[in-house]
Symmetry: C2
Subunit: 565 residues, 2 copies
């Protein structure tokens, strides 16, 4: 076999590891396509997300390890402890390619450990898979965890791990994946999947290099298409290469959608200090790096390595959404402070977006002042210690706001929204309200310039969001980073790549639709039907900025968006 086809099941109750050949009709699936299918088929929709019946599925994208550009996304899927619905969250880094190199199509963790707080690692290498006791890693942050594992298993091992937030079962817990320099700074952040992996008693997964290949049916044709696509990306994504996603700070601030002070404002007094330009200047002055690739062979290279004022490493992969939510939304206008908080979240294994949104509501409720960096660090340390207040914040923006009595809680289906105010980016607002994922921007981000719509007007947003949700679902299935562009203009390329890979015609859009249908059916059973498709009332009621923007896409349209899917 020249394409990955091993499905590895780990029963954490018995400790047994099974290998299965892949079902025939799953060969065209990968990433979110495979996590969605397996979770929907095998997890009861009413299962306790941290209980015996839930499963955590890890699947590299269909194109992992091929020459397809930016195809190194790794999907994690389960029923989410944050949203109560089905969830896929993906991360860059080196693990997707490593799994493909081991011929693995998916890893499935099942059951519940017989004992609590007993930690294990899963070690995978050519032809073997074993669970090993790892109690010495208990309570360690992701950085120390990875450092210890690399000592034992060598610098070439890719590591997937959780931090203390995951160990404590917090629904904001992320799963970390090592980047090309072996740092645990790429995170599958959303939906608390770190807590699900923890509920299986797994602290980390070590992937030693394998020799399997992911060979397209028509390798020559595939390579030619991939090469052309790659060159095209390298040529057109120069702003991302130069500034990384921080380039969005000034763009989104310009259109009035940069979250500030718990989404009170969309034009931020901190935008200049938090901008991509500023980030690049600091990196250049201190020996940091822009144009860094998080996964091997990525032509876009939007990541960065951020050094502090002392010229020492501070964090890596400092992204727009972190800057928007942990920075401006919390009244923090200092990139060094945001970078330090990003490191702390990465180390604790916390979603920076959920934390930024949760801290924003906590600030509005008066728990800590806007802009109080020391206060925020103190709260994050409470999370590490498992203090009640820390546990509260670790449950995310929706519950933090509810318990503290905040009036404005920017969350959908229990999950904090990302760093794009839906009053200013109405298509992204539609995605937040309707995506089976909850308020993920990655599920269909209607950025300025996408589609033939005015981002500030309601017209056409539902259709645009639906199109981008379908194509984004395909990209997540293929393991393609959303920065390749989940837009109709790329469908021809996606279809051509699929045909060359599978040796038969399958439309990318059809795969995307299938993913969404699968997820929507699961959510319906879990009590998250179309009637839950809406944004918090304050986005409809409180005008934003000079234009007085409110979110005014009709509720009926949100409830019926997937009618024809």
């Amino acid at each position: 076999m020249t394409q990955p086809n091993r499905l590895i099941r780990v029963d954490v109750y018995t400790g047994k590891i099974y290998q299965q050949a892949l079902k025939e009709d799953y060969t065209h699936l990968g990433g979110r396509g495979l996590t969605a299918k397996l979770v929907a088929e095998e997890v009861p929709s009413r299962a306790d997300p941290l209980g015996r019946e839930n499963k955590l599925v890890i699947a590299p994208g269909l194109f992992a390890g091929t020459p397809a550009p930016s195809s190194g996304r790794l999907s994690f899927g389960a029923k989410s402890p944050l949203t109560g619905g089905i969830k896929e969250s993906n991360a860059g880094g080196t693990a997707a390619r490593a799994l493909a190199g081991l011929g693995i199509k998916a890893l499935v963790f099942e059951g519940k450990p017989a004992k609590e707080n007993q930690w294990q690692i899963l070690r995978l290498k050519e032809e073997t898979a074993e669970l090993l006791p790892a109690q010495e890693l208990a309570g360690l942050g992701n950085y120390a965890t990875v450092a210890k594992l690399k000592q034992t298993y060598g610098p070439r091992a890719a590591v997937i791990s959780i931090g203390p937030a995951g160990e404590k079962g917090l629904p904001s817990a992320s799963i970390a994946v090592t980047d090309t320099e072996g740092r645990p700074c790429r995170h599958a952040g959303r939906g608390g999947l770190g807590a699900v992996l923890a509920s299986k008693g797994i602290k980390a997964i070590v992937l030693e290099p394998g020799t399997s290949r992911n060979l397209p049916a028509d390798p020559k044709r595939f390579r030619a298409l991939a090469g052309e696509f790659s060159q095209n990306l390298a040529r057109t994504k120069t702003a991302l290469t130069q500034q990384g996603t921080a380039m969005l700070v000034e763009i989104i601030n310009h259109v009035g959608g940069f979250p500030t002070h718990n989404f009170r404002e969309g034009k931020s007094p901190y935008a200049k200090e938090l901008s991509g330009e500023k980030l690049v200047a600091l990196c250049q002055a201190r020996g940091g790096k822009n144009g860094h690739h998080c996964s091997p062979g990525c032509p876009i290279r939007c990541s960065n390595v951020y050094y502090g004022p002392d010229g020492q490493y501070l964090t890596a992969g400092l992204e727009y959404e972190t800057i928007g939510l942990l920075g401006s939304n919390c009244g923090i206008g200092d990139l060094d402070a945001v970078a330090a908080l990003d490191y702390l979240c990465d180390d604790l294994g916390l979603d920076t977006m959920e934390m930024g949104a949760a801290l924003g509501v906590a600030m509005e409720a008066g728990l800590v002042a806007f802009g109080d960096v020391a206060g925020v660090k103190n709260l994050l340390e409470k999370i590490a210690r498992g203090d009640p207040l820390g546990r509260l914040l670790g449950h995310g923006a929706a519950l933090t706001g509810k318990i503290l009595g905040a009036k404005r809680i920017p969350a959908v289906k229990g999950q904090g929204i990302s760093a794009y105010d839906p009053r200013a980016l109405k298509g992204t607002g539609v995605t937040y309200a309707t995506s089976p994922m909850g308020a993920d921007h990655t599920a269909g981000n209607c950025l300025p310039g996408r589609g033939n719509v005015d981002i500030h007007r309601p017209e056409g947003q539902v259709a645009l969001s639906l199109t981008l949700q379908i194509i984004s679902a395909f990209c997540d299935l293929a393991g393609l980073c959303i920065f390749v562009g989940p837009v109709p203009e790329n469908l021809q390329t996606f279809d051509a790549l699929l045909a060359a890979y599978l040796g038969g015609q399958v439309a990318a859009e059809d795969l995307g639709r299938m993913v969404l249908r699968t997820e929507l059916a699961f959510n319906q059973g879990a009590g998250l039907g179309p009637e839950t498709n809406d944004l918090p009332a304050f986005f409809r009621e409180e005008p934003l900025g000079e234009k007085g923007l409110v979110f005014d896409v009709p509720r009926e349209d949100l409830a019926t968006i997937f009618g024809g899917i």
Copy 2:
């Protein structure tokens, strides 16, 4: 008109008060029957429970002010901030009769005040209704609130009020009703309706005596039936008259269902010290009182007035459920301590059951030790102050347990269960799991001796629970206290009373079924369909006591219990 027929609507946004004549087809309704109908018809099922669209409905039972025995229950209804479903919670005291005396069939509070934290009272007297500013009452406990209002409006006024917990919007907030001595010690505790009244900016309702009458269609026949029923109750309910509901401590402990240490045990080491016998002895020794009637003319007189060791008033209406949950379940085996906590909850306006369940999980999670009375008082004071931890507890057992990471959370549909372990009282367990109210014992309490079933076995429990749920719903509609007995043996009496009151044949069971159908339809729309009918897994998995009892009524039976209703 010789029966109450005024429907008074208070629009708290405009401050306008409207009077409507009652719809013709509502004449046979009252209490829970009327709150269910009005909430289901007028509140969108997806409404924010503390928002503009929710309404708070107050309705005396159909028989309020008639000679029907124990007919003084007052129903409060709304969409619950605790369960997210429709809710009715009722209380004894003097207000139901006072409302009937004013010819009022229901009070409906609608809208949202233009300003937050501006408190008003509603003053009702013969022919007039007015909203009056009451900022001087802000932050006061129920006792001080009532004392102030009685100074102004005289000792004969009945008062409905909320405490600081309600003002803070906490989903464990109760609504207090004054008893026959004018103490705010009768509470509509369940479901957080105090927070809903607070969301309307209403601190209290003052009812001055009126002269309207509630005259049955056939007064003579009704009086004869009522007299006979009353004598029968006085003759058969002597244990309740002597010891009050505390008589249940030893009974429920004997059958192994008295909650202890967060439902770990069902036979309590504290039972003797918390028993009805002990309570009576203390009352007798100190000048307290048993055989006290909470509402005028009640022949059962199950209430009490509890004096402390210093011979001073400590609390009144100390009930079995409070003793079970704030006492034994929290490892507190001292009646004086429980009485002091009962007073504190009554004064703050907190449901003692929800607090007992929430403190139990907090104790399990290590926030405070089992039996630590000072620690519990400290936490209740945090609720009064609005501290984050206090706010957490004030959100009830389900959220407290979730946030603190407790493994055993005794709650259904977001509401803490009452003081009957469902493994030992399986019919009551069915009621917890299936009632549209969430885990209310009053919705259909399958006490030992009710129905032809073995309380410890699963057989027959679904049928028994359904029967008692139907008859209990009728009693709540009629304003009859559940201690008259919501059992088939009383249906003939209920039907006869209905016929004499209405002047036509209506079956009590049909009314009860109608109430349940109305509530179930609302809950379906609110996302609380039959798939949510279950108990927490630990009741099915953790054996209780020597007999190793688990809750083993099949899930399918819980989901289909209302099939034929």
